[in-house]
Symmetry: C2
Subunit: 223 residues, 2 copies
C-alpha cells in the first residue's frame, strides 16, 4: 500500500473511532448493552439471534441492526420473531461503519435493553471497525474448521466473547473444541467462550445469562 | 466514501487490473491454466485442492499459491501431498492482489499445467481483484446456508464456476441444492456448477475433467 493510501485509511479509521465513541457513550448512558456480532458468512449469527429473541421475549426488550451487502433477508427473519430490526445494506462494502449505526440509532425505542448489531459476514474487515458496541462477539461454526483463530487473528484478539456455533454438527465434522479454545485463549486470554447450537438450544441460556450480567455492569456506575 | 478515497481505490484497482492482464497473458502463453479459488473461511478450498492433488498425481503437474492473513498452514497441507506450494501471508489484508502473484511466478516450474491460487477466506473483497487467473471458482459449503448467492452477489457474478462443497453434510443441514443453483444462475447464467465432497470424493473427477477441458481450450489457439 502506498503512503497516500495508508494516510487515507488512517483518516477513515480515526473518524470511525470518534463516531463509535459517541455512540457507545450514548447507548451506555441509556442502559443499552450494544453487542457487535462478527463471523464468516453462514456461521449462524442470525440463527443465534433468533434463539435469543425467543428466550428474551417475555423478560427483556431487544432490537437488532442487520448488516449485509445486499438483501433484507436477515432483518425479515428477526422481525418474524417479533423483534424490531433495521437492515443496512452496504451495497458492496465488506463491513459496517459507525456512521451507518449512527443513522439508525434515532429509531431504536427508548426501552430497549439489548441492541445486537449483526455485521456483514466476513471474518476479516469488520474486526477493524468499532461500531460503538460495549461487547464484541466473534462466532466460529464447527464446519469451518478448528484452524481458524490463528489464520484470522484480529477477529479473535479484538473480541470479548467467542461463540462456537453448530455444536450439533460436531459428530459429523473434524473440529477439536479444546484445541480451538486453547488457540483462541493464547491469542486473547480474556475471551469468554460458549459452545452453542441453534438447533438443540445448547449453550444459549448460558450466553444470555452472561449478556444480562454485562448489562447490569453497564448500569452499575449510574446506580 | 469521500471522493478522494474513491479516486485512490479506482487507482489501486486499475493498477491491479494491468498487472493481472500481464500475468494472464504470460501464463496462457506457457499453457498454464490458472484458477483463482474464492470462498468464506472454512468452505473447503484447501480440502478440495488436496483431493485434486491426489487425483492428478500421475497424470498432470500442478502447483498452488496459498493466500492467508497469517500462518503457513495451508501451504504445508498442500506440500504434504507432494505438490509445490507457496504461502503468501497478507498480514491483515483481506484479499490477494495481482502484484503478490507476480512475485511468486518466477518460482513456478515451467512444466506446471494447473496453477491454483487459493485466496484469503472471504466472500467479499477477493471478488474485486483479478489475479491473472483464466478461471475463477467460487466455493459455497452446505453448512453456510442456501441464502448466500444473493447476499454476496459479486463473488457469484464474477466467477466462471460454482462448487458446492461438503455435500456429505447435506443430510444434517438445511440446504436446498436446487434453490442455490437457481439463484446462482439467475445472478450469472454462465456459471458451471459442481456438487462435491472432499470426504466421499463425490464430484471431484467431474470437476477435474472440466478443468482439463478448459486447459485444452487455452492451448488450442497456439496449436
Amino acid at each position: 500500500m502506498a503512503i497516500k493510501d495508508v494516510i487515507v485509511l488512517a483518516d477513515l479509521l480515526g473518524t470511525n473511532k470518534k463516531i463509535a465513541a459517541d455512540i457507545r457513550a450514548e447507548l451506555e448512558r441509556r442502559g443499552i448493552l450494544a453487542t457487535n456480532l462478527l463471523s464468516s458468512p453462514g456461521a449462524g449469527k442470525t440463527s443465534l439471534l433468533e434463539q435469543i429473541a425467543v428466550r428474551l421475549r417475555d423478560t427483556a426488550r431487544m432490537a437488532v441492526i442487520e448488516g449485509d451487502i445486499e438483501t433484507e433477508r436477515d432483518a425479515e427473519r428477526i422481525r418474524a420473531k417479533g423483534v424490531p430490526a433495521w437492515q443496512i445494506t452496504t451495497g458492496g462494502a465488506c463491513h459496517l461503519e459507525a456512521k451507518m449505526i449512527a443513522k439508525v440509532l434515532p429509531q431504536v425505542p427508548p426501552d430497549v435493553e439489548f441492541l445486537f448489531i449483526e455485521n456483514v459476514g466476513n471474518l476479516v474487515c469488520p474486526a477493524s471497525y468499532e461500531l460503538g458496541e460495549s461487547l464484541r462477539i466473534v462466532l466460529l461454526s464447527t464446519p469451518e474448521g478448528d484452524d481458524k483463530p490463528k489464520k484470522y487473528p484480529k477477529a479473535f484478539t479484538t473480541s470479548d466473547v467467542l461463540v462456537l456455533t453448530k455444536a450439533d454438527l460436531l459428530p459429523h465434522v473434524p473440529f477439536d473444541v479444546e484445541k480451538v479454545k486453547a488457540e483462541a485463549l493464547e491469542l486473547n486470554p480474556r475471551l469468554r467462550i460458549f459452545v452453542v447450537s441453534a438447533v438443540t438450544g445448547q449453550g444459549v441460556d448460558e450466553l444470555i445469562a452472561f449478556l444480562a450480567g454485562r448489562r447490569r455492569e453497564l448500569q452499575a456506575p449510574h446506580a
